[in-house]
Amino acid sequence: MNTLLVLPVAIPLITATIALLFRNHASLQRWVGVLGMVVLLGSVMVLFRDVYVDGIQVLQLGDWEAPFGITLVADMLSMLMLGISAIMGLVIAVYSLYDIDKERERFGYYPLLHVLLMGVNGSFLTGDIFNLYVWFEVMLIASFILLALGNSKNQLQGALKYVVINLFSSLIFLFGVAMLYGMTGTLNMADLAVRLPEVENVGLVTTVAMIFMLSFGIKAAIFPLFFWLPASYHTPPVAISAVFGGLLTKVGVYALIRVFTLLFTQDIGYTHDILLWVAGFTMVTGVLGAASHYEFRKILSFHIVSQIGYMIMGLAFNTALGLMGAIFYVLHNILAKSNLFLISGISQRLLGTFELKQMGGLYRHYPFLAVLFLVSAFALAGFPPLSGFWAKLSLVKAGLSIEMYLITAVAILVGLLTLFSMIKIWMTAFWGTVPEEGVPEHFGKMPLFGAGSLYIMVLPVMAVAGLILLVGLYAQPLLEVCLMAAEQLLDPNVYIEAVMGPQ
């Protein structure tokens, strides 16, 4: 029992409530928003230590014994995801101080951001499949409002697609939960892991597995279920795009990793084969979609899809090395991808547009911003010594060690095509000449730091770029922790015993 486990859920809730009370004091609300993220990050660090030293931590809410009550479980995977979500929460909250306009703040931007994080953290921590559905809905309703906040025409259209497809996916998820309950009579994930192998009708279990794959696949934006993502993620303000692009799809990936390592391991030849094919197609279609677009954030949105493919590939390998690569990839990708979104926001502030054809001259006038972009973009493409290199290397190694040559070749090729898109942005927005018309007056004159500059937006970007460099240059500790998480996933008995007590 570790009561600290409620903190990652309780702190965002308390912060959101306090921030709501200050809705008429904009500046106070902003600082409550940032402070809440700092406290959250601190609590996650304390928990991380507990899990690292003492193994999986469990809390039975209301002291109801498993499997009767709701259980919160923190294993290494949960902690890594919680850690990265707390870091990104802090980064986004600081960036939003400048990026989010007064109108959105008045309509509750900061409380919503915290409610969103509460849903995300709850999904990472829960050990009950119905409770996971509830956390998904908490996350969804906050994301719906954040996406539509501001009511511009494009935002409304993007939000409509996002809302309809996500409601549908949640309902399929709920149906899958109902099937599981009908078959086993339990909702606790550890208990399910014990009882599912006892179900005689293996075909039915596999059917339910596919229902879950469909539902989480929509949320994670895998092929062929990703079309809603590039249609909606580029419409809201950049800070919101960044938190969506970085975190939300990864919650879907987390759910896929969780259920396909803990629950549905009866017919691996079937389910994980499908995952492998899906991974390959996701990588290729995403990167080709990115190659055909000329809007900064649309390119990034398609790359989200393409990168999801790598994570699913690691999951489909179902080996310790593959899962380690997948988890490391998730962490690295959240950093690199969110940072690119944040940089696109700064570029837009300077040049007044997201259209690559109307951008240029950033390298000449803002070389430091160009360096920050290069670090993130090269990390995304997988250049040594940045974080993406180790992520791709471990996945490629995992693929070669179990002789999956074709998918490994696809992964490497897609890495090259990623570089192509990044170079496309670099050649136009950074190296290109300054466009002759339509450039705002302050371009070239406004410094990145000092009074009247964008420094509030640049500082978080610098911090994340620093983290990418740190993870790249000193990857070993993080790789070891990821391997620990992967080994816990591959041995469900550890999880089951932590929740249900010795069997």
Binding site: S152, L156, L160, G182, F354
Partner: protein
């Protein structure tokens, strides 16, 4: 009941899918409502139906006397209904707002407007003045 309810749930689900695929936004949302109800029905019937005793514990004993009706699926459905209600209320408000802004509920004629960048691009000087002033 054990055979009627699943068939009914399936029929409602199919109707919902048909409506979901229509061009009109209103029909799409009604489709979601139908699917939501059919999933609740499925949840209800998958929890095993029986018309035995209510799940009440008699005075003096610790567990209810079997066979009794399973209360858990009903608790789950109640939760799902409340959540679904909230989300659908939001979806309807969003649809109404889009109709006001875009002047149509036909999803095929909702195309992205490249001129509309108001969401992302805030007037730089104005924003700063507002925040600092």
């Amino acid at each position: 009941m054990d055979t009627i309810l699943p068939i009914l749930a399936g029929a409602i689900f199919a109707t919902g899918i048909y409506l979901l695929l229509r061009r009109s936004l209103i029909l799409t949302i009604i489709g979601i409502i139908l699917i939501s109800n059919s999933v609740n029905l499925a949840l209800f019937s998958l929890g095993r139906l029986n018309i035995e005793n209510p799940p009440l514990i008699a005075a003096g004993s610790v567990v209810p006397e079997a066979p009794f009706a399973n209360p858990l699926p009903q608790a789950l459905i109640l939760t799902a209904i409340v959540i679904g209600f909230g989300l659908l209320a939001f979806a309807l408000a969003l649809a109404y707002r889009s109709y006001k802004e875009l002047g149509t509920v036909d999803q095929d004629s909702m195309l992205e407007d490249p001129e509309d960048t108001s969401a992302a691009i805030v007037n730089e000087s104005e924003n700063r003045e507002e925040k600092e002033g």
